[in-house]
Amino acid sequence: MNNYFYKYEETHPLTWRIKKFKKTIFIDEYENKRGYLALKFALKNLSPDEVVSIIKKSKLKGRGGGGFLTGEKWSLIPKKNYFGKTYLLCNADEMEPGTYKDRFLMEKIPHLLLEGILLSAYAIQASCSYIFLREEYFLSKFLLEKSILEAKEKRYIGKNILNSGFNIEIFIHTGAGRYICGEETALINSLEGKRPNPRSKPPFPSQSGLWNKPTCVNNVETLSNVPAIILNGYKWYKNISKNNDTGTKLMGFSGKVKKPGLWELPFGTTSREILEDYAGGMKDGYNLKAWFPGGAGTGILTKHYLDISMDFNSLNLVGSRLGTGICIAVDNKINIVSLLLNIEIFFSRESCGWCTPCREGLPWSVKILKDLKNKKGRIGDIEILEEICKNLSIGKTFCAFAPGAISPLYNAIKYFRKEFENGIDFNLPIIKNKVFGIQSNNLNNI
């Protein structure tokens, strides 16, 4: 074993193989660097249940934004499958504005994802897996297709893999451009060739998912963590983190920073460290005004929160979310109202339109934000925005899209109310009892 690689591997399960290399890692190089060892080991020495239990103990959490414990999710899949087939779906429909982590993994080290899929499929005894890939990721598609062929040749994919009796097929399915397909049940509907509206739960996909069969949906980054945990053990995985959330996470900063990009860092790293030590701080002439912890659907925070640890819990406590963990810097030259207008236009464009609060509420917020941006807001507009935020909060809509859409707005009003107030034209008559769009129940006091 080459010590150099081993050193990195101990702390960087996702990226140690690509540290010094700009190019994609194909199968020979991957195998030279302990690739597919975890798969060989598991197929020979571990039962599916044991794999599930290792992942459970590792406390690996979903890296797609939800943060659900992966092992728990797997153990919801019925052991006795009366339906004949179990599916493992890889969610590679990365579209969250400000996020570029899954693309990085698929372009640099596609075999890591494949090995992760194979191990996970073995754990839940899935015999078929689809990688639901975003259409615009043409390069990822090409590289994954090539890697699947390579892995097939080596008999890692197909029938009776490495003489273990385990069979699996992996297909790539590309989308056609809708953000909502990233929601797990919408993804399932989309794959089945239905309109990708989210499904109501229960039944949960683990019981009745793709074609009514037990189905598990995991994100690219989540699956890519699996091989290292199997190879090095859950204790090792816990130890590479600095706090309660185990393992590492791809984290980064974009915006007007000196070196935008992403890095694999242990949980517990603070956003200030990422910004200053890795991203090189703000570009000359720009100051940090606010930031998003993980994509446009996470609550915006001010620079006073920069010392917060980047993990699921800490960010929840301050009214935001880890989301995808890829931060966005908002600089002092950006007007918050205009920024939120951009974000809400995106979300209202991408709402699937299934439920009224989301379908009507988001365009309504766009309308008001447009007025405020043009200094034509009316007295009461900010309160209506707050009301919309309430009506789109968790539990009020069919899926988690709307709460995600509204959380940056909610926080922006909280922290930058003055900028919203600046958009109000006090000469305009106050319009009482006249609201456009959905009629909220609680507008009497406007």
Binding site: P97, A176, R178, S254, I328, D331, I334, F346
Partner: protein
């Protein structure tokens, strides 16, 4: 008209899935590659091949933003209007392209060479602003480089 190659492709795709509805998106995209857009006739041809009602195919075609229901130009320019590209000034780029080609968003140039549309974050925010022309991604775009790229396209 759907040609034999496309028909074969669609039938082959069916092997990947448990039902034929699941090939709708892939079929539409494959045919669109050659024809540029999806007409009602195209849909009814696909409907015959995979035995799925046209109405169902239409409900899918209208949902996704990369299935074009009207003729488009030879080259599709997608500018990212995601939040990072917003911070890094995508609007300037978009306006420059718009002015250079003399079209608005959603429109096609008179010579049918270009169509301009917005797209959500292209996963290239660390190299923002970003545009994509057909299958090619362009990073760190400036007004000047955007125009240069357009002029280099035949």
């Amino acid at each position: 008209m759907i040609n034999d190659k496309e028909k074969k492709f669609i039938l082959k795709e069916l092997n990947k899935y448990e039902n034929s509805d699941a090939v709708i998106v892939e079929s539409l995209k494959f045919v669109q590659k050659r024809l540029g857009w999806i007409s009602l006739d195209t849909m009814s041809e696909i409907s015959k091949i995979i035995s799925v009602p046209v109405s169902k195919i239409e409900s899918i075609a209208t949902f996704y933003n990369q299935i074009f229901r009207k003729p488009v130009g030879k080259n599709i320019i997608k500018y990212c209007d995601g939040v990072v590209c917003y911070i890094n000034g995508y609007k300037k780029i978009k306006n420059a392209i718009s002015k250079h080609l003399n079209i608005n968003t959603g429109c096609t140039t008179k010579d049918n060479k270009f169509t301009l549309i917005p797209i959500c974050c292209l996963g290239n925010c660390d190299n923002s602003p970003t545009i994509m022309i057909n299958e090619n991604l362009f990073s760190n775009i400036t007004v000047k480089s955007a125009i240069n790229i357009l002029e280099s396209i035949k």
